[in-house]
Subunit: 235 residues, 2 copies
């Protein structure tokens, strides 16, 4: 049975790394002693080692030891044997490229379907959708495909931002970009604001956190979904 927390962001403006999620993670990762961390998205280009040590510090607060996947001889065994898995944020193009490069995409899908508890934040959440095509990231590297894990039957736009009505900037708003996506793709897209996350238990998907989320469907007006909403109806 799938068991995932899919968060818009790792960090809120008001707090430290993963801080706002720790009470939830204490429940989600109950009985987990060691967590497998996938650092491939490398935010700001930091190394796998630096990233893993930052994550270790946060999880130490709930008595979980963290091991980076780059520390393992066999990446496949690392995933298969993991008690729990966390993929952190950074650049989604890089993350997806690395997962394909090491042939981990299919294995990760199967492992999560079989119930290994998972946490994703930002890029690590993006990859739980059907494709990475609604990422906000820059295409710094060319991945072999945009297909991702498909743990939820729609796509995500993490760090969702409402249009700034006072802005004088003429670049596209997030809503415009998602509208362009829907010219060519029929998948729903969920704009997940910072502080929101999805709780996935089997086929049940629940919106959590304090905020509403914005749902975009092809050829329809966007709608606001209140926190606590059951999103299992989405396809």
């Amino acid at each position: 049975m799938k068991n995932l927390i899919i968060a818009s962001t790792s960090t809120l403006h008001t707090g430290g790394y993963l801080e706002y999620l720790l009470p939830e993670l204490l429940v989600h990762f109950k009985n987990v002693k060691t967590l497998l961390f996938i650092p491939y998205a490398r935010p700001s280009g930091i190394s796998h080692e630096e990233y893993t040590s930052k994550v270790s510090e946060a999880f130490a607060k709930i008595n979980i030891t963290v091991k980076g996947i780059h520390e393992f001889e066999s990446l496949t065994e690392a995933i298969k044997n993991a008690e729990a898995i966390f993929t952190g944020g950074g650049n989604t193009f890089l993350l997806v490229s690395q997962l394909y490069r090491y042939n981990l995409m299919t294995l990760l899908t199967e492992t999560l379907k079989n119930g290994t508890p998972y946490l994703g934040t930002s890029a690590g959440s993006n990859i739980t959708g059907l494709t990475m095509q609604t990422t906000n990231d820059m295409p710094i590297i060319y991945p072999p495909s945009f297909q991702t894990l498909g743990m939820i039957p729609f796509n995500l736009n993490p760090h969702y931002l409402d249009p700034d009505l006072n802005s004088k900037h003429m670049g596209e708003t997030r809503e415009t970009r998602i509208k362009e996506f829907h010219q060519f793709n029929s998948l729903p897209v969920l704009g997940l604001r910072e502080g929101s996350w999805l709780d996935v238990k089997g086929n049940k998907i629940t919106l959590k956190g304090d905020l509403s989320a914005r749902l975009f469907k092809q050829n329809q007006n966007p709608e606001e979904l209140e926190t606590g909403s059951d999103l299992s109806f989405l396809k």
Copy 2:
């Protein structure tokens, strides 16, 4: 001899479509009667026809007739015979996908090298760089390659935005994204603010408009280049 205007944006907050550029275009497209327009980037997903008619309206003010490339039987002949070419903004992934799909990338490179006057705005400017990897757009479609026209020996980031120091949003700043690009790529990236453009005459590249531009080089601190700067030194 190359003859290009490469603009950050088509439209300023204070004016109509292409309005701020018209005095410059009057000179750039002197003696041009008919302009070939490439509408493939389809901003907000508008059709080729709608986009072309919007562009026609703007160019009517300087007595230039506009024809969309989609109106031609032979796309190759359309480019070869064009008096001048304009590629408008929208989604860079879509634009690049279409140029590859119709085998136009190499032909366009050769045509511009031979001196056909060109105007690019936003996505249409992005493709004049070596690759499209510093676009701000959403990957709504998977292009066969990120390589672009290479009319300038570096990459562009159009609609460049300075970090908003008051923002509570935790998504990456533009500067962070470009820094991530430089973890894997050595090309310089020029952040071109809205209202700036590059004037390319042969190998001479001059920054124009009222604003400075921000230059990012691998492993170096970014620097501000004043308007009027000669950028021909960049490689």
